[in-house]
């Protein structure tokens, strides 16, 4: 960003230092046009008029038209992968259970908490890193991190390249010799990306794993997952893609979807973004349409399909944010456990629900501080233990 632009933005946020203010004044003195621009930016009515124009634009439609016209492919609808968190939008507040009414809290000092935040947060916990362990067909394990970039090994007729938190399988033009299986696993506090030999992309959330052949030889392309993963499957109608989990099987054509199979969550959820998938559990199956979610409860009830899940909430992890929409403190803490690799202890029962949009790349204390702003819950951090207090 050119200097004057960032300075003017700072000015609008009333953040400028006296020195920066001097620079702005010099810029103002330089031309009448500068003064006019400045006056416009400080006039709420004029700004609102321009904002209204931007709001009337059909950005999504133009984007789809551009996609269709430049690739020859039919336009596709995508979720907002790139929701702009550039300025680290973060906000937390809570819903009073039942009424759903918002409570505006004016005076955080009203309530006395025995210890200050500084005393309660003894240390901080960094967010998840790009780290994973790759297990080769022979059982050999390779730790993947930023230090292990480049081509790391070969499996049958496939080379494996690692770089920037992503593992890529490249098939060579040779006959496959035998079927070899690899497993990519993330621990708590880590995540990874994978490109399979057919070009399908997989994003692996923390505490998750995927097992796959190093080359897809049979009629089906079959992989097994635990934890949570998001798939963008390369289209190949003659070789259906199957995602297998110990409880459920998901049959896929070219498509994008998210699978959440964490054992500590109340249900297994498959959310379809594009294309079509069939969720199969024993003799029971459901076909999903884009935007739908299949919920498989742990208590063996039939597959339930809902039409309008909060896609942004489902995809938040992949898009680099925490999004809690009317979430209980327990579900927020379960996600923190996986992402920050921490233990959680409850010293209080918190019945309020929370709504929050927070970037994922912040240390644990940032998220906790935001939750504390509601004044409904407080925390202690000691090493890797987070205690929930009132």
């Amino acid at each position: 960003m050119e200097p004057i632009k960032s300075l003017l933005l700072k000015h609008l946020r009333a953040q400028t230092t006296p020195e920066e203010q001097t620079v702005i004044e010099a810029w103002l003195a330089a031309s009448k046009a500068n003064q006019e621009l400045f006056a416009e930016l400080n006039d709420p009515d004029l700004v609102a008029r321009s904002l209204e124009k931007m709001d009337l634009l059909h950005e999504d439609q133009v984007w789809q038209r551009l996609q269709a016209n430049t690739t020859g492919k039919p336009p596709v609808h995508r979720v907002h992968f790139l929701r702009r968190y550039g300025w680290a939008a973060a906000a937390v507040f809570f819903v009073l259970l039942g009424t759903g009414a918002w409570w505006i809290l004016h005076n955080p000092e009203q309530k006395q908490i025995a210890l200050t935040q500084q005393q309660r947060f003894r240390n901080d916990v960094p967010p998840a890193k790009n780290e994973a362990v790759l297990t080769l067909a022979g059982g050999q394990k390779i730790v993947l991190d930023s230090a292990s970039n480049g081509t790391i090994t070969r499996q049958g007729n496939t080379t494996i390249r690692n770089g920037n938190g992503q593992l890529v399988y490249n098939e060579l033009h040779e006959k496959p010799t035998e079927l070899l299986y690899n497993t990519l696993a993330t621990g708590r506090g880590s995540q990874y990306q994978l490109i399979l030999p057919d070009g399908s992309k997989v994003w692996l959330n923390a505490a998750s794993s995927i097992t796959y052949p190093t080359t897809f030889a049979g009629a089906e392309r079959k992989v097994a997952v635990t934890g949570e993963a998001y798939f963008e499957i390369a289209g190949d109608k003659s070789h259906p893609f199957v995602v297998q989990n110990k409880e459920v099987s998901i049959q896929v054509l070219g498509t994008s979807f998210n699978v959440n199979t964490y054992d500590d969550e109340d249900a297994l959820r498959t959310t379809l973004l594009e294309g079509s998938v069939k969720v199969v559990k024993d003799h029971n199956s459901s076909i999903l349409h884009p935007g739908q979610q299949a919920i498989l409860s742990r208590n063996n009830t039939p597959i339930k399909v809902i039409d309008h899940p909060d896609i942004d909430e489902v995809m938040a992890w992949k898009n680099g944010v925490f999004r809690f929409n009317d979430a209980t403190i327990e579900s927020i803490m379960r996600e923190m456990t996986r992402w920050y690799d921490v233990e959680v202890v409850y010293e209080a029962r918190i019945s309020q629900h929370f709504i929050a949009d927070v970037p994922r790349d912040v240390p644990a204390s940032e998220l906790l501080k935001l939750l504390e702003l509601t004044d409904q819950v407080h925390f202690k951090i000691e090493g890797k233990k987070i205690t929930v207090i009132r």
């Binding site: 124009k53 931007m54 133009v62 898009n319 970037p359 702003l373």
Partner: protein
């Protein structure tokens, strides 16, 4: 991690390799400000949106020529400007925007400078727009209808098919959100947004 492309270089590489996410990020970065820029010449938002859409197609077909994002941006603004001027000529739309047009097209030596100035203007307005966009959905809708489109609480309730109380609630929420956001960043509020908020919070 907020987006797959951390800096301009990786974004440009992704764009060169036709990665959809990179293309979309580039598109979103420039689309709205370009439309606003064009609208200032044509005075017609719909026409400007079409002009900008076509300009993106041109840029997409020549993607390999851009060595930096700045090159791409300069290209986009240049062809949007030319197409907007041509459109205006063809439509003889000189009436309302006559002055501005003359300034843009005939003041040759100052032309580059005026263009820079106009780009700065639309980019700043886009930044402000994005701050509002970052509000959660319903809250952002209410905020926009109220503060940008100047609708009354009753009109918003009708528009969004929600009751008046919910509109009030969301309005309060928007205000609270922005306050918390500013608090988090240890800032005193954006003078602009805050002025609007205070006005309506009463």
């Amino acid at each position: 991690m907020a987006s797959p492309y951390i800096d301009d270089t990786t974004l440009l590489t992704g764009f060169h390799q036709r990665e959809t996410l990179a293309e979309k990020q580039v598109f979103q970065k420039y689309f709205k400000p370009l439309c606003l820029y064009s609208e200032n010449i044509t005075g017609q938002l719909d026409a400007s949106e079409d002009i900008v859409a076509e300009s993106f197609e041109k840029a997409w077909s020549r993607r390999q020529e851009f060595q930096t994002l700045e090159n791409l941006k300069a290209f986009l603004y240049r062809i949007v400007r030319n197409a907007s001027l041509n459109y205006t000529e063809s439509q003889k739309l000189h009436r309302t925007h006559h002055e501005k047009l003359r300034y843009l097209s005939h003041n040759e030596p100052e032309q580059g400078e005026a263009m820079e100035q106009e780009i700065l203007r639309v980019e700043l307005l886009h930044e402000i727009y994005q701050e509002i966009e970052n509000l959660p959905e319903r809250c952002g809708q209410v905020f926009k209808l109220l503060f940008i489109h100047n609708l009354t609480t009753d009109q918003i309730a009708a528009r969004l098919s929600i009751n008046v109380q919910t509109v009030r609630t969301q309005k309060a929420r928007a205000i609270q959100l922005i306050k918390i956001e500013l608090l988090r960043k240890n800032q005193i509020p954006a003078t602009l947004l805050f002025a609007i908020l205070l006005e309506y919070a009463r």
